[in-house]
Assembly symmetry: C2
Homo-oligomer: 348 residues x 2
């Protein structure tokens, strides 16, 4: 038997991504939404599965451009914004070059750095998880990262960086690519989409996984000025997005009337859930996403709820335990609250 060949040293430390696969009643762990845009179903039988998909996803990019209020030449699409961020980090960062972001934030940024040999530099958020842009700018001027990634609203904390702060960042950074990961921006009030033609070093990431409720189709978008998109087209692999995902996204984008209402519903439910958790003595952080970040008042809430069929996410930061809870439907949120009440009662 010939021996196994080792991966490059920088990726040896990676852990396989663990996805929860236990039975559940309520799933509030992955910030998924409701299937409301494709709930009528759709027919795929006119599509030709034997032919390669449109490598450039032109029809989909046209539809997205209409929705986002830009031009199709401002858009590149991929299998979720994940594929696109991974591609971009790898394409811009030579081995040892730096990627700067706040911590805690989306954990995959570190993984994408490890995969391509870039050095991840995490700038600590403040006590309340707010993101100090002055601190980020100072660190960037000092360490000269090739890329700065700002997740806004931030996952998992929900913190929203204001437009003024984003503008300050962009005005003060000349030599870094600035990626604004706006996966959750639909649930907030801040976006940098209108700035792509002012800052050639700006890339905005969007996704259909959250506010569109379409995590299963894996469609994300990279939005930037046309010159940048044309320039980075060389690192997009051909035929990356299959025919079904392209078509499902086109279908969803062909009738977006319900999107604003859905977003408003989630915002209302977020506020209600926030107040209910506040009443139960949860330490809460304001959230601009379809989730709430919290320090729970009892130990092992994650495991205890899991045993009762309610899935949420647990994060450990500086040895303290936090939870991220997706804002579900009214009924789902009520089940969560009822279960928490029973658990808290049992603790008293």
């Amino acid at each position: 038997m010939k021996a196994m060949i080792r991966l490059k040293p920088g990726v040896e430390k990676l852990q396989a991504y663990f996805v929860n696969d236990i039975p559940y009643r309520v799933k509030l762990d992955a910030n998924e939404g409701s299937n409301y845009l494709l709930k009528g179903g759709f027919n795929i039988n006119h599509l030709k599965p034997n032919l390669y998909p449109d490598s450039d996803s032109r029809e989909l990019r046209r539809k997205m451009a209409e929705y986002y209020g830009c031009d199709e030449t401002n858009i590149m699409v991929g299998n979720g914004s994940s594929e696109l961020i991974n591609t971009i980090v790898n394409a811009y960062c030579d081995k040892g070059e730096k990627v700067m972001s706040f911590t805690p934030s989306f954990s995959m940024y570190q993984t994408y750095c490890d995969l391509c040999g870039a050095e991840f530099i995490g700038i600590e958020t403040e006590e309340d998880f707010s993101q100090n842009i002055d601190k980020l700018i100072l660190a960037a001027k000092d360490q000269k990262p090739k890329i700065i990634i700002l997740c806004n609203p931030n996952n998992p904390t929900g913190y929203v960086t204001s437009k003024e702060e984003i503008l300050k960042l962009l005005e003060n950074i000349d030599d870094s690519l600035v990626i604004l990961d706006e996966a959750y921006a639909d649930f907030s009030y801040v976006t940098a989409m209108d700035l792509i033609n002012t800052y050639e070093n700006l890339i905005v990431m969007r996704t259909l996984s959250k506010a569109f409720g379409l995590a299963g189709i894996r469609v994300g978008a990279l939005v930037a000025n046309a010159k940048t998109i044309e320039y980075i087209w060389k690192v997009k692999v051909p035929y990356n997005l299959n025919i079904y995902s392209q078509y499902a996204a086109i279908e969803a984008l062909s009738n977006t009337d319900g999107v604003d209402e859905y977003i408003n519903d989630i915002k209302k439910l977020r506020k209600e859930l926030y107040m209910q958790l506040e009443d139960l003595q949860f330490q809460l952080y304001p959230s601009g996403g379809n989730f709430i970040f919290t320090k729970p008042p009892i130990d092992n809430l994650f495991e205890k709820l899991m045993r009762r069929g309610v899935l949420i996410r647990e994060f450990i930061y500086k040895e303290k335990v936090y939870n991220r809870i997706t804002v579900g439907t009214k009924e789902e949120n009520q089940i969560l609250i009822d279960e928490i009440k029973e658990l808290i009662g049992g603790c008293l």
Copy 2:
């Protein structure tokens, strides 16, 4: 206006992948097949597009394992074998490490190297495009590549490396990962799938794009021994394959009765087309794929056929022009031959 940030130097030279988008009557340029496994259509409306897909594609891997005669622990799936080869080259090769393959072969191998900073070393095939494994072994012992990629049957030449030669390669190579790209192996008679439990440094790539006629769904498989699969799971990005592609592949793999007949039909049609082209004075190379590689007897055949609505591929190697022609249906092949006859008549 802030200035654009440059990509890392190694990828600057890449060219955006050009995909033909001209109207056609017959498409024989991309080695696609017929839609025969999903021709009855299927319903996707029970799937839940709002939830993330199974990150591990378990049901799909079980179905594939049945078909390929291995265990699901031997399989990783991705958006075409392309995504998987790209992931593997990047995961194993640190900057400057070497990837060795024959030339001409699948052009994306070089691209995947450029994307991650690996050095691509092309070993020239012989005059007749046969692949001299002794030469490859000697070069590998000398240059110590991290990865050796053997495309078998080779794209675009169609050359089939025999099982004996593959065994010789595996027996003589200890310090390189050996990737056998078997995208077209279904149309041949050689596979290394049965060797994955003997050689831990062997990875076999398969795809549903060719013999299954499902290029549009973008599903490929990486087959290796279970220890290797477990080891490389850490570099697989989560949720890489969307719900629809997983489901379409499961549907196709649930009724594979027609696959052998389809493959036999293509082999028969390949033989007929070969003889027809031979009669027309084409210089031909034996092919184990669903395509024929040829040096045409007239200039600019590619452009001339394109103007007549018949798409084929053109390759230039050592300043000579070659064509790769997909074996189409009987009718498609006849249109091709008729058009070539008209063109040759016009040249006389």
